[in-house]
Amino acid sequence: MRHDHVITSKHLSRGDIETVLDRAAEIAADPSAVADRHAGALLGLLFFEPSTRTKMSFETAMKRLGGDVVDMGSVESSSVKKGETLADTVRVIEGYADALVLRHPREGAATMASEFVDVPLLNAGDGAGQHPTQTLLDLYTIRENAGLDDLTIGIMGDLKYGRTVHSLAYALSNFDTRQHFVSPESLRLPREVVYDLHQQQGGRTGIREHESLEAVLSDLDVLYVTRIQRERFPDESEYRKVAGEYRIDAETLEDAADDLTVMHPLPRVDEIAPEVDDTDHAAYFEQAHNGVPVRMALLDLLLSEGGGGRDE
């Protein structure tokens, strides 16, 4: 890895991604080999928004590397409540820990925080922005199930506000992929992201937008489903109508390829019916479990390097 912060998947090259995924595969194959590798190291957890999976998997990853965590706790019980700026908070906590994990409701929070600290900082989600460690575990899961080159992927649901979607789309454009984005009109991919995928990724990736899954389902190697949130709609009936059209069940999957992999960043509400869980398509629990070896790999690479080139 060339970087000592992990802020956005836009800054991850194919080489960076492969380094992390290869290391994660090594760790997954033999976790005991790294059990004491970072004994004594501390990871600072700064979660300004609730999180279950991301926070617990970072904590598990650090402890499985022999290290430990220090946790800011909830915003209500911290000095943030007294009006402290994020810039001050991260400068204080970097004195306690060897690396920091930040989740914050504002977009750009991790970019700004990284300008104030010298220890590695990992973005665990900034508003509707980026969530690059989720992306790395998604890529790991895709690589294990379908491979990352010559991939046709459908990404469906809330593409406008879903930060996992934006991060994943950028990262996938390092590979030979065809990306189909399926969403209601009101939740299409932000124009900024489309702009980047077209302009900055040099046209290596093919992207298309659809309002219905039907037209593309049978072509897909991977279907990545995200939750459509109630609060994005003016009223309950509109929400129910739209959400129902983007729901996956056994019947939907009858038209899919036999080896289609269905993923979801979780938590799900009802966008994937429980009956799908028992099919060979379902990879979302495996995906959640992959968060541990992938975050172990990232932490191992960042903590072993002891700094390096800044993430510019």
Partner: protein, 156 residues
Amino acid sequence: MSDDRGDHELRVSKIRNGTVIDHVPGGQALNVLAILGIDGSEGEELSVGMNVPSDRLARKDILKVEDRELSQDEVDVLSLIAPDATINIVREYDVVEKHRVDRPDVVEGVLSCPNDGCISAGDEPVDSRFEVLDDGVRCEYCDTIVREGIASLIDT
């Protein structure tokens, strides 16, 4: 009272010391004044011609501001709304310097991000920072792209 029907051109008197900003796209003069923080309330002496015929642009605006030279920040932002502008520095009625504006790669601390959810729009001790694109600007914190209405983002 004179009635010079033969003269269709706008005549603006020469200034003694100050800046003439020429070749501003027609209709943008008031935004240029906003960039310069000039609203007339301080007694500044200025002349503004709007939508006057131009060889280079079909219609252009021209501003003459007495006793005022532009800072680099002001020129940077000016370049975003008036990329073809020329800036003439006048001393004792003579143009002593004449230059075009250059679009910078980045503008810092002069525009405020229109995204309420952006970290730079909060109380953090950072200046806004925008990358200048071919057809707009992009917040380096939250990635929001602005193509229209850049002048309204000027931090005053």
